[in-house]
Amino acid sequence: MKKKFIIIDFFLKHISMFFAYFTLLVIAGLFLVLYINSKDAISHFGFFSFITSNVWSPAFDKFGGLIALVGTFLTTVISAIIAIPIALGIAIFLVEICPNFLKTPIGIAIELLAAIPSVIYGFWGLFYLGPLIEKYVQPLFNSTLAKLPVIGQYFYGYSSSVSLFTASVVLAIMIIPFTAALARDALKITPDLLKESAYALGATKWETISKVMFRYSKSAIIGAVLISLGRAIGETMAVTFVIGNQDSLPTSLMSATTTVTATIANEFTEASSHLYLSSMYLLALILFLLSFLLIIGSKMFFLRKTGN
């Protein structure tokens, strides 16, 4: 009897241990598989000329990642500029302004919206938001911002239902609920004692929010923002529908371009040559490293204060 227990215990311990360590195996495997498959592209083009070359030509078997990387960078940054203030506004509203009986329903609604699959956001952007942007926002831009000297050209465009701008807006709408939920949890950790002390000193509500709560949860909020950026950088479906998938550098907010994820999603199964496929593995490797570093970085930043 006793022996049976020991044997089962031994197996349970080691099987469960294997599955726990399995995640480390997957991460290492991911890196290795991407690296091995992208080696040909690296040796053929060179890493630095790959990321600085804007030629993406399957016909001539010449590939450079600049267009996709710039697209990814721009969509991520523009969507962050739109999403972060709104998400922080929602977080402040939920923690400090909203009447108590509304806190839970609004909070749950936001978490549910964060659960909606990204393919739905992309789909909605293509059939609903994109045409609206083409009809209303673009003429507005053309008649106002586009008339400005020097920077005006970056707002000018035509038939821009699918564009850098549409993709960034869709991406922003997608990460708002996610960022808001994280920022809300970050703001919530401020102890009541600190808030009460601020009020006792005669601080206004806004001063308490901006000088006490934000300062207290600064690192958690930065962590939340970085995790959201990590999500935006690797997002595929929300972007692929509405970026236009054009292998050219964007000349304005309203022009179609591509991103790392959109290029991979559209062309991976159609790659006609070994070098073509290998170049896409290299793009994936760069994306993997960027997002992984962003997440690990934010986790370390995040954990440093909330951990103890």
């Binding site: 726990a20 506004g89 659960a115 059939f127 806004w206 595929t236 199964t269 993997f288 992984f292």
Partner: protein, 277 residues
Amino acid sequence: MRKRKIKNYIGLSISTISAFIGLFFLFWIIVSLIEKGFHYINWSVFTQNAVSPGDEGGGLKFAIFGQLEVVGLASLLGIPTGILGGIYLSEYGKDSFLSNIIRNVSDAMTSIPSIIIGIFVYALVVVPMGGFSVIAGSIALALLMIPIVISSIDNILKLVPNELREAAYALGAPKYIVIFKVVAKEAIVGIVSVILLAISRILGETAPLLFTSFNSNFESYKLNKPIATLTVTMYDYAMGPYDSWHHLAWAAAIILTFSVLLFNIASRLFSYWRFSR
């Protein structure tokens, strides 16, 4: 004093307004989805298959059952694996250095772009097998599930009071009985909630399926053949040129959104039940 008061009002108004802008956008999505897509839902969507391109009518039967097959198989692969991994972290590894590394890595893994998991499985499963397949799609989704399940199970089991474990040990129970009959029993509602949450997370995943289970026009549920799924079908139809395809894509969007929300809400109900007991 007045200046500070004005600043207070401006700050509070700006955050309230931005909150309402954000909330407006989010509800707009749901409302416009229902408004534009709901009338494309009818029986034939569930009972018929695709007709030849451009023809009116047809349905998503294959895609719906294909989605169920891929997600079902992924759950069979991913959930037990993740639960065992979580058990290890909470019951065996505890606070050891390596366990904490696993916690951080699996936490980070939940944020890795899902398309990269798709490429990984393409290289490891699709290329050696010589073609797209159900099993490849399921493995990709399972890999997305495992880290989610591991970290949530780890957190839930940690909430089980240590006295319960000690009481069971004192009665002479071996460790596996303590884990399965005492700890898991105590946490069962939470475990169900985690399972539902993990399913709701992978139900709408599209990118990892693009290069693994791919898509197919021939209704076949064999594990080694490509298969149609709701998400990939929706993507292909939306990008296609025909109005009838777009209508089916709207129907797919509605079905997908509501099934994800259903699983998510069910998971929440279980987790509230856990805390209210």
